[in-house]
């Protein structure tokens, strides 16, 4: 990692690390030429670099780790490696590769968790959103380590408080009789489908093209391919094999409906990413490698009109911290 983040090395943010890994693997430098690398957290390796860097703990003592500490501090990672790979990270390096980790965009909200619907941040009364599904824009174009806790603990709390306040003061409103029609029709379309397409295959094709073309690095050509593919899949899912017809716990129906929604999101993600002619945070374009604050210091808003995605933008509110180049 010295090559990519000379100062903080392996502690660089995830997007930087993912790009470094991707480039190494693309140059054929993966383990055995394959598409994975080793993450070496064996105590002897960690300590070797700690000695070389003269790393100290906050109390001034030299920084050294033991196998036991690794087990205590990273129990889940150790367990994953043991369970899925039969690798013991205390005595062996772990095979790793970058993967999708978090959805940074989402339903736009203000800082109270109230959903906003346009460039002027107009609140849609009574609708609240928090967590990974929401976009209060804590993260901008990058979700740094532990930031998702902020989404949950701080904005989850505010969304809850506001929702309770709203519910307390709002009168009960009768729903229009056709309120469920849209969703009911979606499910009915799936139930009465007569094709031979498998949702399992469509899902895998979506994952694969999104991973390859709208993943760690992006280009116009690759993303156009992805967009065509996603639109093809949106057509194909209309001809999905007729699912389980039962009413009780019908997970097949649910999976197909969910996949349709995922395809919508894949399209929104790709269209937004193609339009953004710069690199920012985790959005890394090989054809536009620089960040361009002049043109692109703004949030993308996407909405569908007549089945087509329309993009709009709203300004970024900058308060205490001025944006600057990230250097690791």
């Amino acid at each position: 990692m010295e090559k990519y983040a000379p100062k903080v090395k392996d502690l660089a943010s995830r997007d930087v690390t993912s790009r470094a890994m991707y480039l190494e693997m693309r140059d054929g430098l993966g383990i055995g030429g394959k598409r994975y690398l080793y993450l070496d957290m064996r105590p002897e390796t960690v300590n070797k670099y700690a000695i070389a860097d003269g790393r100290k703990r906050p109390d001034g003592t030299p920084y050294r780790v033991t196998g036991e500490e690794l087990l205590n501090k990273l129990p889940d990672i150790v367990d994953f490696a043991r369970t899925y790979l039969g690798v013991d990270p205390v005595s062996q390096p772990m095979p790793v590769q970058p993967t999708a980790h978090y959805a940074m965009g989402g339903i736009p909200t203000n800082k109270f968790g109230e959903v906003v619907i346009d460039e002027q941040n107009t609140v849609l009364p009574g609708l609240y959103s928090a967590g990974e599904v929401a976009c209060v824009s804590v993260h901008g174009a990058n979700r740094l380590g532990t930031n998702s806790l902020l989404d949950l603990i701080v904005f989850g709390k505010y969304a809850g408080l506001r929702a309770a306040e709203f519910a307390n003061g709002a009168a009960f409103q009768a729903l229009p009789p056709d309120a469920a029609d849209f969703a009911r029709q979606q499910l009915e379309d799936i139930r009465s489908s007569d094709g031979e397409e498998k949702a399992y295959t469509i899902g895998n094709e979506m994952k694969s093209v999104m991973f390859d073309q709208v993943g760690v690095f992006r280009t116009e050509t690759g993303m156009q391919q992805a967009l065509e593919k996603v639109r093809e899949l949106k057509e194909r899912i209309k001809h999905v094999r007729r699912p389980d017809s039962t009413k009780v716990f019908n997970t097949e129906l649910l999976n197909i409906w969910e996949l349709g929604n995922l395809l919508e999101l894949a399209e929104v993600t790709t269209v937004s990413a193609i339009s953004r002619l710069e690199s920012r945070g985790a959005h890394a374009r090989e054809d536009y490698p620089k960040r361009d604050d002049q043109e692109w210091l703004k949030h993308t808003l996407a909405r569908t009109e007549d089945g087509k995605i329309r993009l709009a933008y709203k300004p970024v509110t900058i308060t205490k911290y001025q944006p600057k180049e990230r250097v690791y």
Binding site: D79, Y200, T201, T246, F249, E252
Partner: protein, 234 residues
């Protein structure tokens, strides 16, 4: 490798009683049992129903009985079963809703009964309530629970009576009883001090064997029993 799965099936809208279906599939030895179930659902039989969510042992939704042991399907690799024949059944002691899906409500009812949340009505301090690493260590093991129900539904006492609060609920109680910031330990001990509380545990250890998070469940139950007997939390 080719493997055969024998899977418990029950469709409440069609079946009078449950039966088993057999599926022969090609699997990679490193596939998880969950991958194989997904493959069957996606290609052979879309009606096969099971719960799943995160698929890596964190969310706790895919607990099932795999070759007679309660496991998370996402944490068992085909190769680790050392057999090309795999029997998959729903976890026992809870009503089957459909195929491998059980009604978790009785389980969560017991969980809720032990007040599984931090209780402290003292005035909120200006800063966070600090806890020493030693005090945190006291209940560290029981914080790992993911509510998958592997333990409770492996317990013969629970099979015998679903009024038994069950190991998972006692683990949840333990997590707060031994938390020095909490103030409702005594109340939780009273809740568990009855014939359907901790005394239904006969230290059979199935729960400890079943726990995918390697929680020392029987030990935690023992500590709660001791706290009730001695009235002390050390």
């Amino acid at each position: 490798m080719q493997i055969t799965l024998k899977i418990f099936r029950y469709n409440p809208e069609k079946d009078k009683k449950p039966h088993f279906d057999r599926y022969k599939v090609e699997a990679d030895p490193h596939d998880r049992v969950l991958d194989v179930l997904e493959y069957i659902k996606g290609n052979n039989d879309g009606t096969l129903s099971f719960r799943r969510s995160c698929a890596h042992g964190i969310c706790g939704s895919d607990a099932m009985r795999i070759n007679g042991h309660n496991r998370l399907a996402c944490k068992v690799l085909v190769k680790d079963l050392h057999s090309s024949r795999i029997v998959v059944e729903p976890i026992m002691g809870l009503p089957v809703v459909k195929d491998l899906i059980v009604d978790m409500e009785p389980f969560f009812k017991h969980f809720r009964s032990v007040m599984p949340f931090l209780v402290n009505d003292e005035p909120t301090p200006r800063q966070e309530r600090l806890q020493s690493p030693e005090a945190r260590e006291r209940f560290d093991d029981t914080t790992k629970c993911i509510l998958c129900a592997c333990c409770t539904t492996s317990c013969p006492s629970f099979w015998g009576s679903d009024e038994y609060v069950g190991p998972a609920a006692i683990v949840a109680a333990h997590r707060f009883i031994f938390d020095d910031r909490d103030r409702a330990g005594g109340e939780r001990l009273r809740i568990l001090n009855n014939q359907f509380g901790v005394y239904r545990c006969h230290t059979i250890f199935n729960c400890t064997e079943a726990c995918p998070r390697e929680i020392q469940v029987t030990k935690a139950i023992g500590e709660v029993k001791r706290a009730i007997a001695t009235g002390r939390l050390d």
